[in-house]
């Protein structure tokens, strides 16, 4: 079994076996590969970058080279059991519309995003007076792809206004890409909701439409 990034592993655990999956911004296809091979699923990834697309092709994964908007508009309602968007929502032009579209084509939606209310981010801005840079958000302000940052609180508010059911919310104590499985396994899920907005650098949400 390949080792997955912490956040990808958590996402994988949210997906039922034998599901049809759309993985938006699938990168090199690591998560999709895992889901298709180990969970008996089918589906495909959407990726803009040729390098990612090429790696997916080498892995034998179905992949669509294009942006997320196109990746969504081509599909009929409820075409997928799960639509996954991992750490990319903040880089989309219209995040609210993207979530809405994801919930149109997918019965369930999994979204992960960096939490801008994480204490290191707060203190970064507070203490240095500069745009915060952390492990999850390493870019400088002028070259960051992350144009729509939000906090866990903000995201929940948006879900509420869009009549979205939050089935699970998983604030991660460890961020993706960090070698911190231990921290992750001890703290994951144990953060009380109130403190999560302060303590979690990353959050994962499992969503569905409120009215079916």
């Amino acid at each position: 079994m390949p080792t997955l990034r912490v956040d990808l592993e958590v996402i994988a655990n949210l997906v039922d076996n034998n599901s049809r999956i759309l993985d938006l911004g699938c990168g090199d296809g690591l998560l999709l590969d895992y889901l298709l091979r180990h969970k008996g699923g089918n589906g495909f990834g959407v990726e803009l970058d040729h390098k990612g697309v090429h790696t997916c092709i080498s892995r034998g994964l179905p992949v669509y080279q294009g942006d997320i908007d196109q990746g969504l508009s081509d599909h009929h309602d409820d075409a997928f059991d799960y639509v996954i968007l991992s750490q990319t929502l903040q880089a989309t032009r219209r995040p609210r519309f993207v979530v809405q579209e994801m919930l149109r084509v997918g019965k369930r939606v999994i979204v992960s995003f960096p939490n801008f209310a994480y204490w290191r981010v707060r203190f970064g801005l507070f203490l240095t007076g500069r745009m915060p840079r952390t492990k999850v958000l390493p870019h400088r302000w002028y070259d960051t792809p992350n144009i729509h940052m939000c906090s866990i609180k903000d995201f929940k508010e948006m879900c509420d206004s869009m009549e979205i059911n939050i089935i699970r919310q998983l604030p991660l104590a460890a961020s993706g890409g960090m070698d911190s499985d231990l921290v992750h396994s001890q703290l994951i899920g144990k953060l009380p909701n109130a403190t999560a907005n302060l303590l979690a650098p990353l959050a994962i949400f499992l969503l569905e439409r409120r009215s079916k």
């Binding site: 049809r20 089918n42 090429h54 092709i57 992949v63 669509y64 009929h76 075409a79």
Partner: protein, 397 residues
């Protein structure tokens, strides 16, 4: 030249064209139009070696003006190699160290396969316009007969660019258990009105030529002017505005001329004239009519019911590729196809590449395109050739 041809390690080297005679009166080739043909001649070439369990064969489908000669040279003195030589050979995407590549001249063609310029056994004269109307499915049907004739139980993949992509797709629809992989490049699930219009003008140019004689021209010169004009016009649609401008710009063919008379050419005019006049020496005008008609008629997904039915059994891993400057079959065509396949939960990948070469980009060298094509095919090899061999070895133990 001859030295390069024979010593280049990435070339398939000197190749030979073969001829197969398929079908007979008892078992003719039955066409979509209801008519039948027998016997049917097929010109074909093969590159690489068929493995012991015949599981590594890929059929290459050529476009409108292509032929069976896809790679290598017939003689060391040949000026040019086959039409897809950049992509077929040791270390190239269609790697002949792994794959057995089959390339045949399409039904209705004029380079060794039965077509309108072949002799009609009933009259002893060339078919001309008495040749039956053929479809893309008929072309695939004849290829299937050739593959059967070669003793191959299942292909590893079908692949083709432009009209070749339509034939490759047709294989996946008509012989789903036969085609684990399918590569469709710079192609389309159906022609738009603009595409049909281009073909219609080409046909009009041929048929309006005084030497056309209703297709019965094999005793004379034939509609060479009409065919040349058809080719010149089509050739413009194969290139991009940017590409043409970069190659010719407003350059005069002869810099001394002022460009104030009708025979003082811009370089691009001279180029097109050359393309037209060299084309007529190797291509039959009637074939041009029949093949463009087959392209126009191609529409495997006309309505939701038919689409669902046609795709029901399709099981191939399909790769769809397009180029950003292609305006003959632009990326929207490829995306249309991908959308249809995705709606029916088919295993399909899509990638668009940047190229200055327009529609012809599928024939040209381009690192991203080359890499993805190679990886897709190699992965098929891993999953369907190596895996099946491993499984068989285990079973035998």
């Amino acid at each position: 030249m001859s030295d390069t041809a024979t010593n280049d390690p990435s070339s398939v080297g000197i190749v030979e064209q073969h001829q197969a005679t398929l079908f007979d009166n008892g078992e003719p080739l039955t066409l979509d139009c209801g008519k039948s043909l027998s016997p049917v001649q097929v010109a074909y070439e093969t590159y690489g070696t068929l493995n012991a369990d015949a599981s590594n064969a890929i059929i290459i489908c050529h476009a409108l003006s292509g032929n069976a000669h896809a790679a290598g040279r017939h003689t060391a003195e040949d000026r040019k190699p086959g039409w897809w030589d950049q992509y077929i050979g040791p270390g190239k995407p269609f790697d002949t160290d792994y794959f057995f590549i089959i390339s045949s001249n399409n039904l209705g063609g004029c380079n060794g396969t039965t077509g309108p310029s072949s002799i009609d056994p009933e009259t002893g004269k060339q078919f001309g316009l008495n040749f039956p109307i053929i479809t893309i499915a008929d072309i695939a049907r004849l290829q299937k007969a050739l593959v059967d004739h070669l003793g191959i139980k299942t292909l590893l993949a079908t692949a083709g660019g432009s009209m070749g992509g339509m034939i490759a797709l047709q294989w996946a629809l008509d012989y789903p258990e036969f085609v684990p992989g399918c590569v469709i490049i710079a192609s389309t699930p159906r022609l738009t009105a603009q595409n049909i219009a281009f073909n219609a003008v080409a046909r009009q140019a041929i048929m309006a030529d005084p030497n056309f004689n209703n297709g019965d021209y094999y005793d004379g010169d034939g509609p060479t002017n009409g065919l040349a004009i058809a080719r010149m016009m089509a050739h413009i649609t194969y290139l991009s505005e940017k590409g043409l401008d970069k190659k010719f710009g407003r350059r005069m063919q002869n810099p001394q001329t002022t460009g104030s008379s009708f025979d003082q050419d811009f370089a691009v005019e001279s180029y097109l004239r050359y393309q037209g006049s060299s084309f007529v020496t190797k291509f039959d005008a009637n074939t041009y009519l029949y093949i463009t008609k087959a392209m126009d008629q191609f529409d495997p997904f006309p309505d939701p019911e038919t689409t669902a039915k046609r795709l029901e059994k399709v099981n191939s891993r399909i790769m769809v590729m397009s180029f950003d400057t292609d305006w003959r079959f632009n990326t929207a065509h490829s995306k249309d196809l991908v959308k249809i396949l995705n709606w029916h939960n088919k295993n399909v990948s899509f990638e668009e590449f940047t190229s200055p070469h327009g529609h012809d980009a599928f024939l040209m060298k381009s690192p991203d395109y080359q890499q993805s094509l190679a990886s897709f095919l190699l992965r098929l090899y891993q999953d369907f050739v190596i895996e099946s061999t491993t499984k068989k070895n285990k079973d035998n133990r």
